[in-house]
């Protein structure tokens, strides 16, 4: 078991290295240099060249990637914070520490000051959505999977498919029209400040609703398919012919088996909810992680992008690991000794 976990940890580090290098390489092709972005549009070409030389930004890609890694693990100080650059970039944690994601050229702030706050906001949004998606999709999936092709199955399937196929921006606008304009009981934006006169809990309702509507139908469909397959298994027949009631058969025999396959899908939703909710965040002006990534990539803010990449990869790998552990918990056949 220890070996298994160590193995997974090593894989996780390797994945993070590969992903961060890819992002680093791709950023090469975005217009504008680090120096130009740091100095702003009004700096002269001479100033930019000077800073480029100081930052050694003309070194080969791999060398610069290595330097970035060095900053990250705290082996070397962040060159942007060097007072000689005259940029006046100051990280209160110091220029050299483990986990130094560098300086965001977009926000003119240390990445660590920006990103965790945003991630926290998104985590709240995602967590609330996930808490609703899990029970909703399980209930919908199980109920429609009980009797394939029955009236209940068809009704629920139509609901699920309709909801899943409405894009987030459409359902967002629709909900805003309904609950903000026609029947104003909720705020139309969610900046997570009380300035607009709405208490913060109210601001979560619509973004969470949009996410749940978009996502739960898909997961419910997955659970439905798995449930249908399980209900046809001979051990369900065994349970029924033992004289058990339908309810006991489902709760005692079918449910756990039916959750084995969709378990990964369910966990994958965490990844989606953390990094893929850009549209919802934009619609509701929500200060979240997805929007940060979007802004950073439009601006070419390498430091922020790299940090975001590492975080999302880490989340993805961790959820996969949780998925595997969950499998083992659910299915005794694949437990490792």
């Amino acid at each position: 078991m220890v070996k298994f976990l160590l193995n997974r940890l090593a894989m996780m580090l390797l994945t993070m290295l590969c992903a961060s290098f890819l992002v680093f390489a791709v950023c090469e092709y975005t217009p504008g240099s680090v120096a130009r972005k740091s100095l702003g549009p009004f700096a002269t070409q001479q100033q930019v060249d000077l800073l480029t030389a100081k930052l050694k930004a003309n070194d080969p890609l791999v060398v610069r990637y290595g330097r970035w890694l060095g900053v990250l693990v705290g082996a070397i100080p962040d060159p942007l914070q060097d007072p000689s650059t005259g940029l006046n970039f100051k990280d209160p944690r110091g220029a050299q520490y483990f986990g130094n994601f560098g300086y965001s050229t977009l926000n003119k702030l240390p990445v660590n000051d920006v990103i965790w706050n945003r991630l926290g906001n998104t985590a709240i949004l995602a967590g609330l959505a996930f808490l609703l998606i899990v029970p909703l999709s399980i209930i919908f999936g199980i109920l429609s999977g009980l009797k394939e092709g029955g009236a209940l199955d068809r009704t629920l399937s139509v609901i699920c498919i309709t909801f899943t196929s409405i894009p987030e921006f459409a359902s967002g606008v629709f909900l805003v029209t309904l609950f903000v304009i026609l029947w104003p009981i909720l705020p139309g934006t969610s900046p997570l400040t009380s300035d607009g006169g709405w208490a913060i809990p109210y601001q979560f309702v619509l973004p969470v609703a949009v996410l749940v509507i978009y996502d739960f139908g898909y997961v419910a469909r997955m659970i439905r398919v798995s449930m249908i397959a399980v209900m046809e298994r001979p051990y369900i027949r065994t349970a029924v012919l033992k004289g058990m009631s339908t309810r006991r058969v489902i709760l005692g025999h079918a449910l756990r088996n039916a959750m084995i396959a969709p378990f990964t899908v369910l966990l994958l939703q965490i990844n989606f909810l953390i990094s893929g909710v850009v549209v919802t965040e934009l619609v509701f002006a929500y200060p979240g992680f997805g929007r940060l990534i979007l802004e950073a990539s439009l601006f070419g803010d390498i430091s922020t992008l790299e940090a975001a990449t590492l975080i999302t990869v880490a989340i993805a790998v961790v959820t996969q690991l949780l998925g595997d552990l969950g499998y083992m918990l659910l299915d005794p056949r694949i437990r490792v000794r």
Binding site: P234, T238, V240, K242, G243, N257
Partner: protein
């Protein structure tokens, strides 16, 4: 010893009178309503099971026997409907019973044992919790009491270490153990009727023997009535008091077991009995009489006798009258055949003398073949260990053994699907043991062809039947040009007795037998020198099996190809093979000609295998059953001495556990690996002798 055994409180005791009827099925009609059509699975069926009786329901797949069992349990799925008739259990009507009434009967008064125990048990729940559910549901006991009852029941079904067993999961048990658990589960609430739906199909023969013994023992102990559903006539003949033969949803013959098997009256029953191979005859003394044609689909049942299209005694104006009844022909024996008085049992066809292959040119020589699978760590799985045997040209060598004995691994190495760890396989003088199929030259590939076990999964469902035959001809360049290839395809289809019209059908439009004929045609399309047939007929119904085996033997004789015939069915091997190699846990236990292995002194394991064969012939003396204990050990940690020592009934002593057995040369061709010396081996009590009285 425990609560259950010391206090028999079950409902089984209620029926004290011997003639009391437990189950009365009367004019039962079962239909399946699809979206556009209605299929009548069982048109009309009547039979009775009396208290304490064991009633056997026999028939081939699709005859409606399992459907009948499910109808009794009230479990026909969403499309199945009981359209008429009644099922009375202990006087109570089950047709139309409410869900609540059914729940009280299911598991409590009627319990069931299923065909495939692995899938009948929930993989994510422990044995203990699955067993305890039954008393918790039906007997109103506490959880601890239920667990105690479960543990006691596990001891009753002879599972060792019941306490530990309760905590295990189904996948940690062997097939035989799983079936014992299912039986224990069925018996926990002391039902008065036990439905057994092919309870031993899929189990190894020695395991099957033990399970059948157990069922017999528990039956008398708990005085449970049995409804035994099977396609295996031998098994039914041995375990049942009365037998009903079903054909296409109808009872065609019913009677007391001895009477029915001694004097079968219906031509179908006669055909069924004649088409199963028996241990006393080989291919030189008897050919299997196949029943022509196939079971009609429910939509294409003829008017009158359903068996008419396949019957040699069909008489127009007599057999196609719509009101054929089951006719009493003395005693309890009933038959649904208007011409039963005229139906003479056809005599086994006399064979053209098949001489033994005269020229003994070596075709395949396997020597010292070993295959180890590394499983990580220091664990290795020994699939084959120094296996050696020869096959002469045009000879059929049977590889026999139970699951896990390494016979399929051997086949994979010979065909190049896997490579040997060490040792040699010489085909036409060339060692191919370590050459995989992708590295083999084309002429070598062509010379070794394989016939697989399950024709359903080996034909590509999206290609037509002739596709694989055509491809084989093209790839090996047997014929050139489109017309010549088509000509050859037609010849091959004719060779396997299929009409050319079948060439363009998709596999799902073919029956199992037709699919296997296509597979045989494909294998022979390449004009191979060696055919490896891995359980080629074990997935087929007995009447079809006979036809396929006969066909295979005919073609093999005509083409003079060598064949490795892999099978677990010893009666079939007796009928097919020239030479037999008996394997156990990766090692050869015995090899010799078919006569030597079946008639002479044999290895204790072979003896056990042969003794497990059941014959439906009631006049054939019961063989002394050899009772093997335990399960086949895991091939990962094999016993150090003789592989068979842990289960052997003729163990010499400690030497068996520690020293590998010497090879006893019984004759030039007969070898036995055993510590018992040759003279003593020779005096093995004859298996057809008078010693065994069998079970009472």
């Amino acid at each position: 010893m425990n609560l259950i055994v010391s206090n028999p409180q079950g409902s089984a005791m209620s029926g004290s009178s011997p003639s009391h009827t437990v189950l009365d099925v009367n004019d039962l009609r079962i239909e399946f309503h699809g979206k556009s059509e209605t299929v009548v699975a069982v048109p009309t069926l009547s039979f009775r099971v009396k208290a304490g009786e064991s009633y056997g329901l026999v028939g081939e797949s699709g005859c409606g026997k399992s459907t009948t069992a499910m109808a009794i349990m009230g479990y026909l799925g969403s499309t199945g409907v009981i359209a008429g008739g009644s099922i009375r259990f202990e006087g109570k009507e089950l047709v139309g019973a409410s869900a609540r009434e059914l729940r009280e009967i299911r598991g409590r008064q009627i319990a069931m044992v299923y065909q495939d125990p692995m899938s009948a048990l929930n993989p994510v729940k422990t044995i203990g919790s699955q067993l305890a559910e039954v008393p918790l549901l039906h007997l109103g006991v506490s959880r601890t009491e239920a667990m105690e009852m479960a543990a006691a029941m596990l001891e009753d079904v002879r599972l060792p270490d019941a306490g530990d067993m309760l905590k295990r999961y189904p996948h940690q048990l062997s097939g035989g153990q799983q079936q014992r658990v299912v039986i224990a589960m069925a018996l926990l609430a002391r039902p008065s009727l036990l439905l057994l739906d092919e309870p031993t199909t899929g189990l190894d023969v020695t395991v099957e023997a033990a399970v059948i013994d157990l069922i017999g023992e528990l039956r008398s102990r708990y005085s449970t009535s049995l409804l035994f559903i099977s396609h295996n006539l031998g098994l039914i003949a041995e375990t049942c008091d009365r037998v009903g033969i079903m054909y296409s949803g109808e009872m065609v013959e019913e009677g007391p077991t001895g009477d029915l098997f001694r004097r079968p009256r219906h031509p179908y029953t006669q055909g069924l009995i004649d088409c199963i191979p028996d241990i006393t005859h080989d291919k030189r003394s008897r050919s299997l009489a196949a029943i022509p044609g196939h079971i009609p689909l429910p939509q294409e049942r003829p008017i009158g006798c359903f068996f008419a299209p396949r019957c040699t005694g069909f008489t127009a104006g007599l057999c196609d009258r719509p009101d054929l009844e089951l006719e009493h022909i003395g005693g309890d024996h009933m038959v649904r055949c208007i011409r039963w008085r005229d139906m003479k049992r056809s005599q086994p066809a006399q064979l053209a003398q098949i001489g033994k292959a005269q020229v003994q040119t070596q075709a395949v020589a396997v020597s010292g073949l070993t295959k180890l699978y590394k499983l990580g760590g220091d664990r290795t799985l020994k699939a084959n260990e120094s296996v050696s045997f020869n096959a002469a040209k045009a000879e059929i060598v049977a590889l026999v053994g139970e699951s896990g004995c390494g016979k399929s691994t051997l086949a994979r190495i010979v065909t190049g699907l896997d490579r040997a760890t060490s040792g040699e396989v010489r085909i036409a003088g060339e060692n191919v043991a370590e050459i995989q199929a992708k590295d083999r030259p084309r002429d070598l590939l062509q010379s070794v062809q394989m016939i697989f076990q399950n024709p359903d999964s080996t034909l590509n469902p999206s290609h037509c039947a002739a596709f694989s035959i055509r491809r084989s001809i093209k790839k090996f360049g047997i014929r050139k040009g489109k017309a010549a290839i088509e000509e050859r395809v037609r010849e091959l289809l004719e060779m396997v007795r299929l009409s050319p019209a079948i060439a363009n059908r998709k596999p799902n439009q073919l029956s199992g037998g037709q699919k296997q004929r296509i597979a045989i045609a494909r294998a022979f399309a390449a004009d191979p020198a060696l055919i490896v047939a891995d359980e080629p007929v074990s997935a087929l119904d007995v009447s079809v099996q006979a036809a396929i085996v006969t066909l295979l033997l005919d073609i093999q004789r005509e083409k003079q190809s060598t064949m490795l015939f892999i099978s677990h069915d010893l009666a079939l091997v007796r009928h097919v093979a020239d030479k037999v190699v008996v394997m156990y846990l990766g090692k050869v236990m015995e090899q010799g000609t078919v006569e030597e292995v079946f008639d002479g002194g044999t290895h204790p394991y072979t003896e056990a295998l042969i003794s497990a064969i059941r014959s439906p012939n009631p006049d054939e003396k019961r063989r002394d059953r050899v009772h093997l204990t335990g399960d086949t050990p895991s091939p990962i940690n094999v016993p150090t001495g003789c592989r068979f020592a842990t289960r052997c009934h003729r163990k010499v002593g400690a030497v068996c556990d520690s020293v590998a057995p010497p090879l006893r040369k019984m004759s030039d061709t007969h070898e036995i690996a055993c510590h018992i010396d040759a003279t003593e081996l020779r005096t093995t009590p004859s298996r057809y002798g008078a010693l065994g009285q069998g079970r009472a």
